[in-house]
């Protein structure tokens, strides 16, 4: 057994144990779903940051740096801006309303049909996103252990489901602190080791270390270090895409923002995303530099394996800690989205829509059951649907449409419930048509990214319908089948 594998196994066991330890914090469904609305500044900010540093933020940024250079730092700059927007403009509203899910908030802004449409769209979108992230997690485990991809995915899926079952958001919050610590030490430590110790070992670096040595190695393999080190190496369109994804993707993304719902008060909810923005910012410098090193040193020809290859080829203990850091980033994201999906499924669709009489005791059970169902089905999906990977960004389109609904609902006087409903539906249908080029080749005609396309068509739909719709009296049967406990009760 390699040292890297040993470190990873010990770390994984530690995480599952930590998740199980949170179990005694859970007394009722509110504890399970929003950690009893008692999370402090550290838990909220670290959970948001850890959730956001997923496969795209680690392996993905190394991949982009491998092919196009350090312009990838804009990915986390844009993410930080999105988190700041969420903190400044959205989080305190969510927290003040005491919501558990984003669709629930849409009910307060609009009406029942918007809430139902948003619930269904979110569950579908997040299920696919869980599948994608679980595949990434399985690939990492496969690259370290040499196990079969399907077996790794199944193993990770079961372990993640187990620790989420124990204590829901408390589990996520507890483990996020450990994740953040691992990401914050493992990845920079590996970066430092590569820069100081590995680069001078290569003959072509001429004994230089750090970025000077890296530049030397890059120019020896006929690459232009000045271009690759430039923050503008990706070009404006890619950077604009990152910013749009950050602004549209974060403020209404259940998985990222649900920790704000569990914040102790609205002040914590408002400040924590800004602290999270500071935490996520430097990540792509470390992962991107290691991606460039993989290319310069010729460790792999596959950009997707750039980060993994670097970490497996350095000192095994440092590399093992670095792999544990990437593993932490992936697990925290899968945990967040799986939990977000399960909370919408149990709270919105199951309890309020289908079974409005479910009381608190049963809601806790149903939430756990849905965590189990979604965890296992997405693990199975990841085992059987690996080619779905390249459609990851399609999920962002749904988050973009939700963000448009929330933002207009908050700040535009004419925002109409029909507009919100139809903009969500248009984003879904238009997104599918665009993604799969039905019935014509949209992508060749418009040349837009699918998330930008979806945001654009849902924006147009929203504005047009709002301007054309009349405000009419709605019947009493439009009232939501919702119940709120008057007082917090313990089982």
């Amino acid at each position: 057994m390699s040292i890297q594998l040993g470190i990873l196994i010990i770390y994984f066991l530690f995480i599952v144990l930590l998740g199980l330890l949170a179990m005694k914090k859970v007394r009722d469904s509110e504890d399970l779903l929003v950690a009893g609305r008692n999370l402090g500044m550290m838990f909220v900010s670290v959970s948001i940051a850890a959730e956001y540093m997923g496969g795209l933020g680690t392996i993905g940024t190394a991949e982009v740096a491998f092919t196009s250079g350090m312009g990838v730092i804009w990915y986390h700059i844009a993410s930080a801006c999105g988190l700041m927007l969420f903190g400044f403009a959205f989080s305190h509203y969510y927290r003040k309303y005491n919501v558990v899910t984003i669709p629930e908030y849409l009910y307060y802004l609009y009406d029942i049909k918007t809430w139902k449409a948003a619930s269904v769209l979110n569950v579908i979108g997040y299920w696919f996103f869980t599948v994608i992230q679980m595949t990434a997690l399985g690939s990492l485990v496969t690259s370290v252990t040499g196990l079969d991809l399907k077996l790794s995915v199944l193993f990770c899926g079961i372990a993640m489901t187990l620790y989420l079952l124990a204590a829901g958001m408390w589990s996520v919050a507890f483990t996020s602190v450990a994740f953040m610590f691992t990401i914050g030490t493992g990845i920079p430590l590996a970066f430092w080791w590569v820069m100081k110790k590995e680069i001078p070992l290569l003959v072509s670096s001429q004994g230089m270390s750090g970025f000077a040595g890296l530049a030397q190695i890059l120019s020896n393999v006929n690459l232009n270090p000045e271009h690759l080190f430039s923050p503008f190496s990706l070009g404006g369109v890619a950077v604009l895409g990152y910013f749009l994804a950050g602004f549209l993707g974060i403020p209404a993304a259940q998985a990222t923002v649900n920790y704000s719902f569990g914040a102790r008060n609205w002040k914590v909810a408002r400040l924590a995303p800004i602290l999270a923005a500071i935490l996520v910012l430097p990540l792509s410098i470390w992962t991107g530099s290691m991606g460039l090193y993989a290319r310069a040193a010729g460790l792999t020809s596959n950009p997707k394996l750039a980060l993994g290859a670097t970490l497996m080829n350095i000192n095994p203990i440092i590399g093992g800690i670095g792999i544990a850091g990437i593993f932490a980033a992936l697990v925290s994201t899968v945990a967040g989205i799986l939990f977000g999906c399960a909370s919408i499924m149990s709270k919105d669709i199951w309890q309020r829509w289908l079974h409005p009489d479910t009381d608190d005791k049963y809601l806790a059970r149903w939430t756990r059951l849905w965590i189990l169902i979604i965890g296992l089905t997405s693990a199975f999906g990841a085992m059987t649907l690996p080619k779905i990977l390249h459609q990851a960004f399609f999920v962002y389109s749904i988050r973009g449409a939700l963000m448009i609904c929330v933002a207009f609902g908050l700040w535009w006087k004419l925002a109409h419930p029909d507009a919100a409903f139809w903009s969500l539906i248009t984003a879904l249908i238009g997104g599918i048509m665009y993604q799969f080029n039905l019935p014509i080749n949209f992508q060749a005609i418009f040349g837009l990214h699918v998330s930008i396309w979806c945001a654009l068509i849902s924006l147009i739909t929203f504005v047009l319908i709002s301007l054309c719709s009349k405000w009419t009296y709605q019947t009493a049967n439009q009232l939501p089948p919702m119940k709120f406990p008057e007082k917090r009760s313990s089982i």
């Binding site: 430039s230 002040k267 500071i278 910012l281 419930p417 009232l479």
Partner: protein, 60 residues
């Protein structure tokens, strides 16, 4: 001659500095607000519901 301190680090350090400053100032701003400062944040959706004639759901 290429600088040994890459351009992207300068940019990132600058942005990090700005973010820390923003966080600090925002913390000061938030902590000075009274705890019921956003009490009327529900006003917008309540207004919409009144226009729609939907019964306004009472929240705790």
């Amino acid at each position: 001659m290429m600088s040994y301190f890459p351009l992207f680090l300068k940019l990132d350090l600058l942005i990090w500095g700005i973010l820390i400053l923003v966080f600090f100032l925002f913390t000061v701003y938030i902590s000075r607000l009274p705890s019921d400062a956003i009490k009327n944040c529900k006003a917008k959706s309540i207004e919409n519901k009144k226009r729609l004639g939907i019964k306004i759901y009472k929240m705790k």
